[in-house]
Subunit: 159 residues, 2 copies
């Protein structure tokens, strides 16, 4: 079970975007984070489809957030990039073999699927409790309050 690395990139891009005052193009993010430009664009497109960011075409265009950073949860970003389907998918093996259950006996998900779904809900709940604004504050605290200021300066400067 491996999560796409694009999730990490997308989250850092959202934090960076929360400090930007004008649209930021993909190339700028790629330079800032040291990742491939074209592949990073794929992740930003996913965020755009999910309505988390909005694309501005043409010169001086790029991406901007559609909402306040405090209104964007980590879960939304993860689901936008990695998909909304849960990692575990029940294949209904209880309906197969010599002890197969009748279809009408399978109205409820089986016990295994319920346990996995419960854990998945706990995972999503934890991710939904953290917002992009929270991430920015945590990063700022780790750097003694310099990270967000340096980020704003770099985004405003020529690069």
């Amino acid at each position: 079970m491996k999560m796409s690395n694009g999730v990490e990139w997308a989250l850092h891009c959202c934090v960076s975007l929360s400090q930007a005052t004008s649209p930021v193009p993909v190339a700028r993010f790629a330079e800032l984070h040291g990742v491939p430009t074209a592949y990073l664009a794929k992740q930003l497109q996913a965020l755009s489809r999910a309505g988390i960011v909005r694309s501005v075409p043409g010169p001086s265009g790029g991406y901007r957030l559609t909402r306040a950073p405090s209104e964007i949860t980590v879960l939304e970003v993860v689901e936008a990039v990695d998909g909304r389907e849960p990692p575990f998918r029940c294949t209904e093996i209880r309906r197969r073999g010599p002890l197969a259950l009748s279809p009408e006996s399978c109205a409820k998900p089986c016990a295994v699927a319920r346990a996995m779904a419960s854990a998945d809900a706990a995972w999503r709940g934890a991710l939904a409790d953290v917002t992009v604004a929270d991430l920015g504050r945590s990063i700022d605290t780790d750097s003694s309050g310099t990270a967000m200021r340096e980020l704003r300066g770099w985004l405003s400067g020529a690069g």
Copy 2:
């Protein structure tokens, strides 16, 4: 992010094993669940390496549980089959690019990694709260108390 289907098979096998009184070979499980024998064997081998089941070679051999079903958590089975590494792996992009942090500033995991680790801990905690015995009871309840009895009968019979 896709979890191996072997996890589902392994969990159902553990529940079945909890009702067996003698070692059960892989072929029997494959017939019961309607899955490929050779690939299912791979999952049972993983359980064996993790110490959840014990293999008995030779005629009338197979697999048996090493502990009581109430002492085997779903988390153990998931980790045995799917691996213990968390789905999210931080690539430390904060150390790269024009605003790269110094190595000594990265003693703690970054905020993004902490948020993902917290969610992962919640996921594992939920899985650790359910045991194989719990799964068996739930399946029995869903079938009005006939599933485990039929399972014991089939495992004892010639198949």
